[in-house]
C-alpha cells in the first residue's frame, strides 16, 4: 500500500477509541512499591543470604576457604547434641511462658475489669514491666532480685530463716521463664483487658437470667468473646518468646552448660564465638522452619478450640 493510500485510509477510518487507562482506581502498584521494597530489603534479602551461607563453608577464622558444601552444615547441625538441646530449651521456654502469661494475664484482666478505688494507678503499675527493656530486665533480676547475696529474694529467704537460693545457677530455666513471663504478662493483661471491656454488658445479664453462675458465665460467654483476642496474644507472644535473647544474654549467657541455651542463643554462639557463619546460618534456617511449624500447629490448635467452644 502506498503511503498516500495509507494516509487516505487513516483519514477515513473512524477515530480509534481512546485507549482505556486504568483510571478507575489509585495507582496501586506504585503506592505499594515502597512497602514492598522495604519488605524485600528487610526480610527477603537476609533470608536469601542466610539460605546461601547455610550451604557454604564459611568460617571467619578461615576466610579464604569459602566453597559450596551442600548439606554438610545441616548434617553437622543435626548431629550436634547442643542444637537438639537448644531446640528443647526453646520449646520449653515458649510453652512455659505462654502458659504463665496467658493464665496470669487473664486473671489480672478479670480483676482489673472490676471497679475498685485506685484502679487507674494499679493498672499503670501492673503494665509498667512491659516498658522495661529486655537487657535491663535481665540485669535487674540478676543483680537485684535473684542474686544469692544482694538479691531481694535471698534477703527474704534469710529473713524467713531459709538458706538463700542461687536462682540462676540452680534453677536457670525457671529463672529465665520467670523473667520473661514478668516482662510479658502485662502485654497479655493489656490486650485481654481491652477484650473484656468490649464485651457487651447485656450478654452477661442475659446469661445470668438464663441461670448461669460465675463460672458458666466465664466459660460460655467471656472466653468465647475473648477468643480472637486470646489468639492474637498467643500468636504475638510465641513469636517473641521464640526469639528471646537479651534476657538470656544478660543473665546466664546460655548456661550453666547449655541449660538455658535456646535457638537464638545457639545461633549467636556459633556465629560470634565459633565464627562459623555457615553452621549458624543452617541453624537460623532451622529456627525459621520451627517458627513456621510452631505457628501452624498453634493456629490449628487455637482455631480448633475456638470452634469447639462456639459449637452450638
Amino acid at each position: 500500500m502506498s503511503p498516500i493510500a495509507t494516509a487516505a485510509l487513516a483519514k477515513t477510518a473512524p477515530p480509534a477509541p481512546p485507549r482505556r487507562r486504568a483510571r478507575s482506581g489509585p495507582p496501586t502498584r506504585r503506592l505499594m512499591a515502597p512497602a514492598t521494597l522495604f519488605l524485600l530489603a528487610w526480610m527477603i534479602v537476609p533470608l536469601a543470604m542466610t539460605l546461601y551461607y547455610s550451604v557454604r563453608h564459611y568460617n571467619l577464622m578461615m576466610p579464604e576457604l569459602r566453597n559450596f558444601v551442600g548439606a554438610t552444615n545441616y548434617k553437622l547441625l543435626l548431629t550436634d547434641p547442643t542444637f537438639w538441646h537448644s531446640l528443647v530449651n526453646t520449646l520449653v521456654l515458649v510453652m512455659a511462658c505462654l502458659a504463665i502469661t496467658v493464665a496470669l494475664g487473664l486473671g489480672l484482666a478479670l480483676l482489673f475489669n472490676r471497679t475498685f478505688p485506685g484502679r487507674g494507678v494499679a493498672r499503670t503499675l501492673a503494665i509498667s514491666p512491659f516498658f522495661v527493656m529486655p537487657v535491663v530486665t535481665g540485669l535487674i533480676w540478676k543483680n537485684m532480685l535473684f542474686h544469692p547475696v544482694y538479691g531481694l529474694l535471698a534477703w527474704l529467704a534469710r529473713e524467713l530463716g531459709l538458706a538463700p537460693f542461687d536462682w540462676l545457677a540452680q534453677q536457670p530455666m525457671l529463672s529465665i521463664v520467670i523473667m520473661i513471663a514478668w516482662e510479658w504478662t502485662p502485654f497479655a493483661l493489656l490486650i485481654l483487658l481491652t477484650g473484656l471491656q468490649s464485651l457487651p454488658e447485656d450478654q452477661i445479664e442475659a446469661a445470668r437470667l438464663d441461670g448461669a453462675g460465675r463460672w458458666q458465665e466465664f466459660r460460655h460467654i467471656v472466653v468465647p468473646h475473648l477468643g480472637q483476642v486470646l489468639y492474637v496474644v498467643v500468636m504475638l507472644e510465641s513469636i517473641f518468646f521464640l526469639t528471646s535473647f537479651a534476657e538470656i544474654y544478660a543473665t546466664t549467657s546460655g548456661g550453666p552448660g547449655t541449660a538455658t541455651t535456646n535457638l537464638p542463643y545457639y545461633i549467636y554462639q556459633n556465629a560470634f564465638f565459633q565464627y562459623d557463619i555457615g553452621l549458624s546460618s543452617a541453624a537460623a534456617v532451622g529456627a525459621v522452619v520451627l517458627a513456621n511449624v510452631f505457628s501452624f500447629f498453634l493456629i490449628r490448635f487455637v482455631a480448633g478450640n475456638l470452634n469447639a467452644g462456639s459449637a452450638r
Partner: protein, 373 residues
C-alpha cells in the same frame, strides 16, 4: 405463671447515700396471674429501671418484690425464674440460634431430647425453624428479635420481661410482631411485663397499662379507662393520637357552665361534681380531636360550642385533620372527610357533653372522676 407484687419499690442510683431524684419512686403494683402489663412513658421515666429491678439486675433502694408469693428482693437473677427480652436482643454471638435457645436449658441440665423438643417447638411457633443452625450475625433484625423471644419462651419461666423489644424493627414488622407477641401471650398465659415508649403499642397490647413520668407512676388502668378517665393532663395528653386539646375556661356561677374566649362548654352530669364550689375559678377543659364535630349554623345555640378560623387542613382519606385557631389558641379536630373545609375559613365546632374532661388548672389533676376502685 405467677402473680408479681411490687410494694413501695424505690430506686436511687446514688448508691447507699441517696442522691438526686429517684429513678423510680414508690412503685406499687400487683398483677393478676398471667396478666400482660405494659409500662409506658417518655424516655428516662424509669421503665427500664423497674424491669431490671424485677429481673434482679438492679438492687432495690427500698420496697420489696414478690413473685408467686415468694419475696425475691434479695434473690439472684438466676434464681428468679424470669426470662427477659432485651432491647438489643443480647443474643450470644458465638452460639447458633439453637445454642442460644438451648443455653438456659443446658445449664438446667435437662435431657437432650427434652431440650431438642422444646427448642423445636418454640422455633415452630416463631417460624424460625430454618434458622436454627445459623449464627445471630447471619440474621436480619426481625429474625434476631424472634430468636430473642424464642430464647425466653423455651425457658417456660414464671414471668416474661420485655424491654422495648420492637423498637429496632421497621414499622410494618413492628405491627406484625406486636400481634405475634399478643398471640403468644394468650396461648402461653405467662405473666408479662412489657416496656414501650409508644402509647399505641401500649394501648393495643396491654391488659393493664402503667403510665410513668419522671420515676412516678401516674396511672395504672386498662386501656379503655386510660382513654376515658385519665387522672391528669399528662396521661390525657400522652394517651391518644392526635393528643387531647386543653383549653382554659372560667367556671360559671352555676358551677356547670364553662366560658373562654371563642368557646363555651357545659360539663356533663358525670363530671359536674368536680366543679362544685369552683364558681369563678379557672379550670382546664380537655376534649379529644376525634370528639369534635362540625357544627352547622343551626347549632349555634349548642351548649358546647367553639368558634374559630381554620389554620391547617390535613386530609387523611377517611378523616380530615383540621387545626383551628380559637381565640388565639390552636386546637386540633378530626372531622369527617365529607365536610369541605378550607384554610382561612371560619368554622364552628361542637361536641357531646359526656366526652369533656376537666382538670385543675394548677395541679393538672382530673376533676370529677368517679371514685377510684
Amino acid at each position: 405463671m405467677a402473680i408479681v407484687e411490687l410494694k413501695n419499690v424505690v430506686k436511687n442510683y446514688g448508691g447507699r447515700k441517696a442522691q438526686g431524684p429517684n429513678a423510680v419512686d414508690d412503685f406499687n403494683l400487683t398483677t393478676r396471674d398471667g396478666e400482660f402489663v405494659v409500662l409506658v412513658g417518655p424516655s428516662g421515666c424509669g421503665k427500664t429501671t423497674t424491669m431490671r429491678m424485677i429481673a434482679g439486675l438492679e438492687d432495690l433502694s427500698a420496697g420489696s418484690i414478690r413473685i408467686g408469693g415468694r419475696d425475691v428482693s434479695d434473690v439472684a437473677p438466676r434464681d428468679r425464674d424470669i426470662a427477659m427480652v432485651f432491647q438489643s436482643y443480647a443474643l450470644y454471638p458465638h452460639m447458633t440460634v439453637f445454642g442460644n435457645m438451648a443455653f438456659a436449658l443446658r445449664l438446667k441440665k435437662l435431657p437432650q431430647a427434652e431440650i431438642e423438643k422444646r427448642v423445636r417447638e418454640a422455633a415452630r411457633m416463631l417460624d424460625i425453624e430454618h434458622l436454627l443452625e445459623r449464627k445471630p450475625r447471619a440474621l436480619s433484625g426481625g429474625q434476631r428479635q424472634r430468636v430473642a423471644l424464642g430464647r425466653a419462651i423455651v425457658r417456660q419461666p414464671q414471668v416474661f420481661l420485655m424491654d422495648e423489644p420492637l423498637s429496632n424493627l421497621d414499622a410494618k414488622l413492628r405491627v406484625e410482631t406486636r400481634a405475634q407477641i399478643i398471640k403468644l401471650h394468650r396461648s402461653l398465659g405467662v405473666t408479662t411485663f412489657y416496656v414501650t415508649h409508644d402509647q399505641v403499642e401500649a394501648m393495643t397490647m396491654g391488659q393493664r397499662i402503667v403510665v410513668m413520668l419522671d420515676g412516678n407512676v401516674q396511672q395504672i388502668a386498662t386501656p379503655h379507662e386510660l382513654y376515658a378517665q385519665p387522672v391528669n393532663t399528662f396521661v390525657a395528653g400522652f394517651i391518644g393520637t392526635p393528643s387531647m386539646n386543653f383549653l382554659p375556661a372560667t367556671v360559671g356561677d352555676d358551677a356547670r357552665s364553662l366560658q373562654g374566649e371563642g368557646y363555651r362548654f357545659r360539663a356533663g352530669d358525670a363530671r359536674a361534681a368536680g366543679l362544685a364550689g369552683k364558681a369563678g375559678a379557672t379550670v382546664l377543659v380537655g376534649v379529644r380531636p376525634e370528639h369534635l364535630k362540625w357544627c352547622g349554623s343551626g347549632d349555634a345555640q349548642a351548649a358546647n360550642h367553639l368558634a374559630g378560623k381554620v389554620d391547617v387542613v390535613e386530609p387523611l382519606g377517611s378523616t380530615t385533620m383540621v387545626q383551628v385557631d380559637v381565640g388565639g389558641q390552636r386546637i386540633t379536630a378530626q372531622l369527617d372527610s365529607a365536610i369541605a373545609v378550607e384554610m382561612g375559613q371560619p368554622i364552628a365546632l361542637t361536641c357531646a357533653a359526656d366526652v369533656l374532661h376537666l382538670f385543675d388548672a394548677q395541679t393538672g389533676q382530673a376533676l370529677g372522676l368517679p371514685a377510684q376502685a
